[in-house]
Amino acid sequence: MNWEIGPIFRAVMRNKVGAVLIALQVAVTMTIIVNAIFIINERKELLARESGIDEANTFYLSSSGFGDNYNAQVTVEEDLANLRQIPGVINATQTNAIPISGGGWSMGLKTEPGVENEGVGVAVYFTDQHGLQTYDVELLAGRNFTDADITWRDPVKGDWPQMTILTQAMAKDLFPDLPYQDVVGKTVFINDDEPIQIIGIIDKLHAPWIGWDGLERVMLVPQHLLFDSYRYLIRTEPGQLDRLMPEIEALLADSNRNRIIRNMNSMTDTRERTYRGHSAMVSMLTIIIVVLTIVTALGIVGLVSFSVNRRRKQIGTRRALGATRFAVMRYFLVENFMITSVGVLLGAAMTVGLNIWLVNSFEMQRIDWYYIPIGMLCLWLIGLLAVYGPARKAASIPPALATRTV
């Protein structure tokens, strides 16, 4: 079959400007869309990460004591005893920081003592033997804390207890060559030279900072806090959260007048807030992609319609000389395909260029290669769809038109 590629190409070359405009538009559109989709997918991957805790049924609040009548130890002991026996509460723990909430403590652990050795950064959560159940994490190896392990941490003393439970990811980063079972029983060093023994490994728990590359590196420390301010993390049975939140807030506030209960939040709200920037980015980029596709497609429709109108007489003549409707339509489709091809080739180069620039200027990943061919295919398809309408109109021009003067 003769596709008339030669004549079409020569005709395009006679009206370069229109062709160049479409090609450029396709190229820039492809550059934006492919990079935007890449960013969207990157963000969606972040959004899909699970923090390890039972987010739907967990909430937390802060308790801040004040005044001379405030006794931290008595308050914490009473609060925990009260919280744990409320019907509908699965378990609760006192802690310093909340996963994925944005604020917390970090320390460094070293496998060899001494200032000159590199440490591995880790998020610190203080908890007790009820922590595992409250966090809804699974103990993969070793043992949980026991009542006898729990000590009280003085706000102005920096002493660390002699044991810790680590996440699997932390164990792996400390001892890359050992399976996690063998990490149990190892001694690591905190504050350069204070030994601390790993007694257990849990599956997964997120640090407070979602932008941190050590997000899954967490250590649980068996201590209650004698601080003025600390948090309670409370896990409820499914469906009980909305009822229990206000009840527990009131209960704690009324049980002790020398403290303030504040910053009560469910984990669901915390996740929404923490990841809001990422999901907003996904929404904005999606809107950009949709609008841009429409704008580009309409632009192509406009330009092709115009060129069809300008060539009405020639089309009529061709039809009168025996060209079929299909041949006329094919002409425009092939013409557009040639122009779009130049556009997508240019677009492929520009896409990579923009990505390299984004990688260098912002914290972004290199684009995966397969985005480029998929992007090219999409733009080809958009181009063909946009041209289809005007091309059909062109095909419907009657041969009789050739005989008229205008």
Binding site: S64, E116, L285, I288, T296, L354
Partner: protein, 437 residues
């Protein structure tokens, strides 16, 4: 002539309403997207204190771990230690200076019905108010003697004054805060800083605090550290004072230096101070002290969010697509008018006249597109407000300057887009066109 061209342009718009509207829509979309992102970037990168941003300097001292820098590749820590903050304050080598930090405490209102609540406190020195042009409703800041004497005085925000004292002049009254009684010496007017540059470690777009008090009180009252604390060395001694006098950084140090000579003198002072401390066994790294003015400090801390910048560049490219689109459509439209142009040329219009006529026509499309784009930008900004909620406070309002930029951008870009098609339209050869009619 302009009015005549304008009428022709309107007629031409009506003759090709779909094509013309398509152009207006394209420009409106491009302008709308750009202005939305430009606004957010403009506000994020705006100068919070334009009168003085060149005279206010943030101090960085490299007191960090000899084995590794505070921040790669070789940057000093972003805050200073208590020891250095108080030493620099004692030295008083700048025109004005204030070390500062964020703390917090419980407020116990006098009024028995109101519940106690937590608040943030800004610890600062007396120069703070003059340095940052803090506006006062009643009273004033404290003086430097109050710093030295550790007077129990506070300055409160307007909102806090409304809450505690019903908005009346509360100077001289007492507030119970962090377990102690403080005398109110000043009440601020509404004070918004976007970005709140003086302490980016606790969030550059956070609000200014409700309480201000002399920083030396931190030591005597053992006030908490609510900002970021970073340590490279375990405190030598336990207890509040051991921690306070440790190598942990938790304080921001600002100085006001009126000219370059003062800046150089202060830099020399910082280096000699570091040498002095080195002799005492601190500052084990080579001298790497820095003074950054407000905008330099904002840039160093990446106050403009990466996402906002990425969106800005993408939307500029989006505008480019819209303009390419407009060029194509204008070409189509103008070449459809070849007959009309030939007629005008034949009856005496010069090429210049035709050029002007079409320039007005593209300008009209640009202005309509710009106005529509402004509407879309407002829509886009309220969309961002919905998406980001309180994370985008103060970042989504346009001011007259931005409106002017939007219209200007629309006009300029549409005329730029129109230049080539307009020039082409003047190249029409009247004779051949008229003959073929």
């Amino acid at each position: 002539m302009f009015r005549y061209y304008l009428r022709l342009a309107l007629l031409s718009y009506k003759r090709n309403p779909i094509l013309s509207s398509l152009m207006v829509l394209a420009i409106a979309m491009g302008i709308g997207a750009c202005m939305t992102t430009i606004t957010v970037n403009y506000i994020m990168s705006s100068d919070p204190i334009p009168q003085k941003s060149e005279q206010l300097f943030y101090v960085q001292l490299d007191s960090w771990d000899p084995n590794s820098p505070a921040r790669e590749p070789n940057d000093p820590p972003d805050q200073v230690t208590w020891t250095d903050a108080t030493n620099l304050m004692k030295a008083k080598q700048a025109f004005r200076q204030s070390a500062m930090a964020r703390s917090g405490g419980v407020v116990e209102p006098e009024n028995g019905d109101s519940k106690p609540f937590m608040t943030d406190i800004r610890l600062a020195y007396s120069d703070f108010f003059a340095m940052f042009n803090v506006p006062f409703q009643y009273g004033s800041g404290w003086d430097s003697q109050s710093d030295d004497n550790r007077d129990m005085v506070v300055v409160i925000s307007r909102a806090m004054n409304d809450q505690l004292f019903g908005g009346e002049n509360s100077v001289g009254k007492t507030v119970r805060l962090a377990g102690h009684n403080f005398r109110v010496v000043g009440v601020l007017k509404e004070w918004r800083l976007v970005p709140r540059f003086y302490d980016v470690t606790t969030g550059a777009f956070d609000n200014t605090e409700d309480f201000y008090m002399p920083m030396p009180l931190k030591e005597s009252l053992e006030l908490t550290s609510n900002g970021n604390v970073n340590c490279w060395k375990r405190p030598a001694e336990d207890g509040f004072l051991g921690f306070l006098y440790s190598e942990c950084v938790n304080f921001q140090m600002w100085v006001e230096l009126r000219d370059d000579a003062e800046k150089q003198a202060y830099m020399a002072f910082l280096n000699s101070y570091a040498d002095e401390q080195r002799a005492l066994g601190r500052f084990e790294r080579p001298n790497n002290n820095r003074l950054s003015n407000v905008m330099e400090w904002m840039a160093y801390n990446n106050v403009v969010a990466d996402d906002a910048e990425i969106m800005l560049w993408l939307s500029l490219m989006f505008l480019l697509v819209c303009l390419l689109n407009t060029i194509g459509l204008l070409l189509a439209k103008f070449s459809g008018k070849a007959g009309e142009i030939s007629l005008r040329r034949a009856v005496g219009a010069s090429r210049r006249d035709v050029f002007m006529q079409h320039l007005v026509e593209t300008g009209l499309i640009g202005v309509i597109g710009g106005i529509a784009g402004l509407g879309l930008a407002m829509l886009g900004l309220s969309g961002i407000g919905v998406l980001y909620g309180d994370l985008a406070n103060d970042l989504t309002s346009m001011d007259p300057k931005l409106v002017a930029i939007a219209l200007g951008l629309a006009l300029v870009s549409s005329i730029l887009a129109g230049l080539y098609p307009t020039w082409r339209s003047t190249r029409v050869a009247p004779a051949s066109q008229l003959k073929s009619q």
